[in-house]
């Protein structure tokens, strides 16, 4: 069968590009609101900033249906195992945005109660600075993540991109 039989326009490309295009344009975040940043994350999803423009308005309550975990807020020692469990329940491919300084590094709360950076618990792809980051900052982080997905590998993403602070995922995605 030759292509000349088709009556419509068509585009050729390799499968990898197509997969990455599809992944990039429908990243569904899991709701993982912890603190102040969660309010700004919800504000980003609401009408004024409209995360739907990036195909991301569907915040999934179930980690099984989510591709992206936006860790929005400070992570306490008590919450850390829960975060890890939710992350483990997410299907590959999955990404993590660490939103705000508390999630990224502990921020201004360098004390007994807080995990000093969620990258001690889960591998992080994008760090969004700010306390809390405004919706524009979060959107910039999201667009950066989209770019990462567009240009990254689809099969061996972690090893090739160096994302995840050098952590390997043994037994993840069970």
């Amino acid at each position: 069968m030759g292509l000349e039989d088709l009556s419509h326009n068509f585009i050729t490309g390799n499968l990898e590009t197509l997969v990455k295009w599809a992944r990039r344009n429908s990243v569904w975040p899991a709701t993982f609101g912890l603190a102040c940043c969660a309010i700004e994350m919800m504000a980003t999803g609401a009408a004024n900033y409209d995360l739907a423009r990036f195909g991301m308005e569907v915040f999934r309550a179930s980690p099984r249906q989510a591709d992206l975990m936006i860790v929005a807020g400070r992570l306490s020692q008590k919450m850390a195992p829960v975060l890890r469990q939710v992350y483990d329940q997410m299907m590959e491919p999955k990404w993590v945005i660490s939103m705000g300084v508390c999630a990224s590094s502990g921020g201004m709360f360098n004390n007994y109660a807080l995990v000093q950076g969620v990258d001690q618990v889960v591998p992080v792809d994008i760090y969004v600075p700010g306390c809390p980051p405004g919706p524009q900052t979060l959107m910039h982080g999201i667009i950066t993540l989209h770019e990462l997905i567009r240009t990254g590998e689809i099969m061996q993403r972690r090893q090739s991109s160096g994302a995840g602070a050098g952590l390997t995922l043994e037994g993840a995605g069970r």
Partner: protein, 438 residues
Amino acid sequence: MTVHETFEGGQEMKGRDDTGLKELAREKGAVLRLPEGVTVDPADVDVEVGEDETMIINMGPQHPSTHGVLRVMLELDGETVLRSKPVIGYLHTGMEKNQEELMYIQGSTNVTRMDYLSPIFNETVFSVAVETLLDVQVPDRATWIRMLMMELNRVASHLLFMATNGMDVGAISMMLYGWREREIILSFFEKVTGLRMNHNYVRPGGVAADLPEGWQDDVLDICDAIPPRLAEYDDLLTGQPIFRERTEQVGVITADQALALGATGPILRAAGVPWDLRKDMPYMFYDQLEFDVVVGTYGDAFDRYAVRLNEMRESINMIRQIVDLVPAGDYRVQDKKVTPPPRARIDESMEALIHHFKLFTEGFKVPTGEVYVAIEQPRGELGAYLVSDGSAKPYRFHMRDPSFVNLQCLPVMLRGGFVADAVAVISSIDPIMGGVDR
């Protein structure tokens, strides 16, 4: 992989045999030592339901409708809640410990992040506590600016309640509307303080900066923009049969129970107790404003919604009055002890530079003493207990957060209701976990 292995163990809900009688009664929603006739009989919840027929389920801490990281354990008989127990601490940030490490001049930065939906209130109560110990009289303009910002903040906080409450009972469009209106106020906050949240605007001695040029027009625009939208909410929710079905007679708490549990704010007022610190124990210049305390009748989730909706209207009225009443003058106290010299003076005066440097590196010392200050926050009484040992850092700072105390009403409200209503009830308490766990 550094996963901290923890378990919650005893904090979780135990089987009925392992639970003490008092605690069991509490989880069943009984509030002890009430007048005769009001006391809940613990036996009437689970008559003839054996423990092998019930199920203990866990809700949260990662759950879309628990407002952050609240975890609730429920014992269910089919769809009916027999007993429940909120488990908190998943957002414990150690802020009270941090506060002891920060100078008074830095303190607002920390407290503003406690209850992150009402940052101005947190800063104000901290600043007033420090000023009381310092015996500093804040200029009238600063106090009026604080009141203006607080009432705007109250509206913003209640708008967020409207949004999340609507979403929790299934009115998704309400979620978008609430956020849309909140952005109007946030943009004014951004203009005044430079930040959308966590402002660090109110500081001991006054406020960080004067209101910008033309603020009256901005505020009046907000006052014109919000009330028509509130009328829209009335159309959308108040008269809507589905919303009323989901909230009326759901999560009922009586006035006596609310008082015994220490509940304040809209929960107490919805139960019919007209208690508002702004009216009953006026602080700042609230005695110069005309406003009504909104009171409910039945103490159910719908009343709490209605109280908050109408409190926004009252707050808008108060803001209109405040705009006319803000006097000219200083926005922070001209006391060299607590206030840095103006920026222009630093360029020309060595003493001013030294003074500025000393103030921000060493801070100011606060006389020995202890004080408790309380103000009315959107969720109830926000109290600050401050102990000073005469140094530049607080010796102990304790925040009495209304969400923390109000959350104890949960077992009472959930008792005997459906598990599907649990979401509406949690939402109607409007707990902010940042304030609960601190």
